[in-house]
């Protein structure tokens, strides 16, 4: 019966491994086609897979050791003596130093990507000069929608609303290509700006204006949602991020501006 349980636990680990392995094929994996549509997202995915490999090796190793130890413990003969040991100093040293080296590597290896995402001046071009970050809009979350404010074409975004600002609700337009920055605010409680396909997330905190920058590598519509509990309608802060080429973006802003300021008055025909 003991051997049955050794197999039982080993089999559990095997099944867990297999389920994880087939998950991408079952679409239980990164959304859409599995690719990230931002430079940062690509790096996040790479780091994710790096950790996944390290973790899988550890999981297989420890599961095998546990399974083998259990099998041995079940197969021990009645007259056989147990391994009377209080531990081993050299083993303890090995399994302290090796994991700490691996863990320290994981920790330090991540720092650059974080700095690039969160610290001004750390996102760099290939030649080492800092990337230009364009501030495109202010996104204000409220229960339960997103209100976006853009400056008029050719003007910078001001912290306070301007007469010629352009507004949209639940639809954030950004140009593709370079880094764009959104100023996140909230009117009421805490919310979080989350675009899964771009792997971008940042809380919107009452009383704070938080810049968040990213790039969209491909034009298209991406789903945008709230990731911080904000009340009963948390699940319905459904919005979309529309990434378009710089020209399309400017054209859209002109069109939106024209619609917004249109008061229906037309010059009478002469």
């Amino acid at each position: 019966m003991g051997k049955f349980w050794a197999v039982f636990f080993t089999l559990t680990s095997v099944i867990i491994f297999i389920v994880s392995w087939i998950s991408p094929a079952m679409h239980w994996w990164f959304p859409g086609d599995g690719n990230a549509y931002s430079t940062l997202g690509g790096k996040i995915d790479d780091l994710f897979y790096l950790i996944l490999v390290i973790v899988s090796v550890t999981f297989v190793g420890t599961s095998a050791a546990l399974g083998y130890a259990l099998w041995r413990g079940a197969a021990i003969k009645p007259d056989e003596k147990v391994w009377f040991s209080h531990g081993s100093h050299s083993l303890e040293v090995i399994w302290t130093i090796v994991p700490s080296a691996v863990l320290l590597f994981i920790a330090l290896y991540q720092l650059d990507v974080w700095a690039e995402y969160r610290m001004k001046g750390f996102a760099k071009e290939k030649d080492g000069s800092p990337k230009v970050i364009t501030v495109v809009a202010e996104a204000t979350a409220r229960q339960f929608e997103w209100r976006i404010r853009y400056p008029a074409n050719g003007k910078p975004l001001k912290p306070t609303p301007q007469p010629d600002d352009i507004y949209s609700v639940n639809e954030l337009h950004v140009p593709t290509g370079g880094l764009v920055s959104i100023t996140l605010r909230t009117d009421d409680v805490q919310h979080a700006f989350f675009v899964p396909m771009l792997r971008v997330k940042q809380d919107a905190v009452p009383g704070k204006m938080i810049p968040v920058w990213f790039d969209a590598t491909m034009p298209g519509d991406y789903e945008m949602l709230c990731a911080e509990l904000c009340g009963w309608g948390h699940y319905k802060m459904k919005a979309k991020l529309v990434a378009q080429s710089a020209d399309d973006f400017e054209a859209w802003k002109d069109k939106a501006s024209a619609e917004q300021f249109d008061d229906g008055y037309r010059k009478p025909a002469e």
Partner: protein, 609 residues
């Protein structure tokens, strides 16, 4: 106070109440002082255990309602839904959904996991394992149990407030939790919730002071610090964690109550308009709450884990019939977890908008906390290695603890890495992770501990077959419920969504969620087997002697169940707690801590070796 310096006068009357100062051993206590307002640590431990087992069923029912909504969104929920949400046609409304997961977490964390570890097993085991006749402060101990009840009452009453129960999550982030207009549950319900939390804190603090005093002052002769079972070490370290972390939460709770009721603005910035209410005044910071809350609640994660680690180490050694591998590294790594546990709270706030430089330091400390956890795991495997493994239900729960802790620990690394956390923060990945640690590890450890120490509690064995069936159903149900949550998280499904399928990119996850819900119901039903086994065995289980497992600890030298005052002779300790299979133990494979081996015998064994 009396038991700190025990004299013969009250050696068997730890309660030293204003009644029954007789000196005969067979004196009768009244029903009230024996079963209700008992000052006996064993009775208090059992009170905690039975209370938390019932609370586990309550928390489980709330969880099943949450799972129902995720499998069959907006459909009538039979029985439970008809009873509770009859007005809505038995379906769970979105605001009710937020209350359900808030209260599920509240009940499970504050009324089940923390009290079952420190309250039930801490109380029951500390005096027995260190050879004391009771806790240092028996009355304080009694109060620590009875202060749970106002908390249970306040949490329960919060459901009946206008607008329903608190709905801001168990983390209660302001301003959602703070401004009455922000959510239906943020009215009086939230105030009651905060007061309930304070009572839980007071209860834990009383326990913590008591455990520290007892462990430092009341160990039996010969019980040096490094002869203490790892259970005692873990309880000791947990008590220290609680003593240092809890005041911060209590203060934060009072700050929020005063913001809500007295108009202070610790957490309220100015100019916030919620639901068309007048704008707020004030110059507070909502992030302050997150810092204060997690300064307690991250150490609390270890409060919810360390005692289980200690108990599992004890049980593993006994069931593998060999010493714990690396006793001192086990102690040091628990101390390291506790120490590092105080400087990692910021990993809950990576994307909260705090200074990004903090994200870096918190990431390094968080990833390094995996190291002591890894050392412990290797030592557990080392403990099993080369042993004579007894595959009874106690052992099965312990193996489950180790293997589930491996998964829970490894999944933590993904979230500790800040860039990866940007994406998986607040998705189901975190839900998977903490359920693997708190349920997969801690609760399986607790199930094992119940089965293991039940004979000492009631003098009877629990049913082995029922135990195994309960184990298999819970283990399979658990993995099928929670492992797929990792996948949901990677797929970007946010937590706390009443209807994730509202978003096209999550629609295809419905069948997986339905499978998980079915597994969760299986797991929920299996817990009735545990309750049944527990209460049946209490009266009808086969009687057992003092040491049914052939274990070494001091508790096994006392009668089963031990009388008031625990030991019939004062135990004197000669060995560490894990001398299983020792060559000097003669023809048995264990050597109790109280068993003196004459020098001649030790020398003979040495030569024979």
């Amino acid at each position: 106070m009396s038991t700190l310096n025990p004299t013969l006068d009250h050696a068997d009357h730890a309660d030293h109440g204003d009644h029954s100062h007789g000196h005969d051993h067979a004196h009768k206590q009244s029903f009230i002082s024996q079963y209700v307002f008992s000052t006996d640590h064993k009775m208090i431990g059992k009170q905690f255990l039975i209370t938390t087992l019932f609370m586990m069923m309550v928390g489980g029912a709330l969880a099943l309602a949450v799972r129902w909504q995720l499998a069959r969104p907006w459909e009538r929920m039979p029985v439970f839904g008809d009873m509770v949400f009859g007005a809505d046609g038995g379906q769970i409304s979105p605001d009710a959904y937020t209350m359900l997961f808030t209260m599920h977490a509240t009940v499970m964390i504050f009324l089940v996991i923390i009290p079952v570890l420190a309250g039930a097993f801490g109380n029951f085991l500390i005096p027995l394992q260190i050879g004391a006749d009771d806790m240092a402060f028996p009355t304080l101990n009694m109060l620590s149990y009875w202060f749970m009840w106002p908390a249970i009452f306040l949490f329960g009453a919060s459901f009946f407030m206008y607008g329903g129960g608190p709905a801001a999550g168990w983390t209660s982030y302001p301003l959602l939790s703070l401004l009455r207009e922000a959510a239906p549950g943020s009215g009086d319900a939230q105030t009651l919730w905060l007061l309930g939390l304070t009572f839980v804190g007071v209860s834990s603090m009383m326990g913590s002071v008591n455990y520290m005093t007892t462990i430092i002052n009341m160990r039996a002769p010969g019980m040096t610090l490094f002869r203490m079972p790892l259970t005692i070490w873990s309880m000791f370290i947990t008590a220290i964690l609680q003593a240092f972390a809890l005041p911060v939460l209590t203060a934060a709770g009072f700050m929020m109550v005063s913001d809500r009721m007295l108009g202070t603005c610790f957490f309220v910035p100015s100019g916030i308009v919620v639901n068309n209410a007048p704008p707020t005044v004030g110059g507070g910071q909502t992030l302050l709450w997150q810092h204060l809350f997690w300064f307690y609640s991250h150490p609390a994660v270890y409060i919810m884990l360390l005692p289980a680690m200690g108990m599992v180490s004890d049980m593993l050694a006994c069931m593998c019939r060999k010493p714990v591998f690396g006793y001192k590294p086990m102690v040091y790594s628990m101390a390291a977890i506790a120490g590092l546990g105080f400087i990692v709270w910021g990993h809950h706030m990576f994307i909260s908008g705090m200074n990004p430089a903090l994200g870096m330091t918190f990431m390094v400390s968080t990833i390094m906390i995996a190291l002591p956890s890894a050392i412990k795991t290797f030592n557990w495997i080392g403990t099993i290695w080369g042993g004579r493994v007894q595959f009874n239900s106690v052992m099965l729960y312990c193996i489950a603890f180790v293997s589930m802790f491996i998964i829970g620990g490894l999944s933590g690394i993904f979230m500790a890495a800040v860039p990866v956390d940007i994406y998986i923060h607040d998705t189901y990945f975190i839900v998977a992770h903490f359920h693997y640690v708190i349920f997969g590890a801690t609760l399986f450890g607790v199930f094992g501990a119940i089965q293991f120490w039940f004979p000492k509690m009631y003098g009877r064995m629990m049913n082995e077959t029922l135990g195994k069936i309960h184990f298999v159903l819970t283990f399979i149900g658990f993995n099928c419920t929670f492992y797929p949550m990792h996948m949901l998280g990677i797929a970007g499904m946010p937590r706390r969504y009443a209807d994730p399928y509202h978003f096209p990119y999550l629609e295809h996850l419905l069948p997986l969620n339905q499978f998980m819900t079915a597994s969760a119901f299986l797991m929920g039903m299996a817990q009735f087997l545990l309750l049944g086994n527990f209460f049946y065995s209490m009266y009808f289980g086969p009687k057992c002697g003092r040491n049914p497992w052939g274990a070494n600890g001091l508790e096994w030298t006392a009668p089963s169940p031990p009388g008031h005052g625990n030991f019939d002779v004062l135990p004197v300790v000669y060995h560490g707690p894990y001398e299983y299979g020792s060559p000097v133990s003669g023809d048995k494979d264990f050597l109790m801590q109280t068993e003196y081996v004459p020098l001649a015998q030790r020398v003979a064994a040495e030569e024979h070796h």
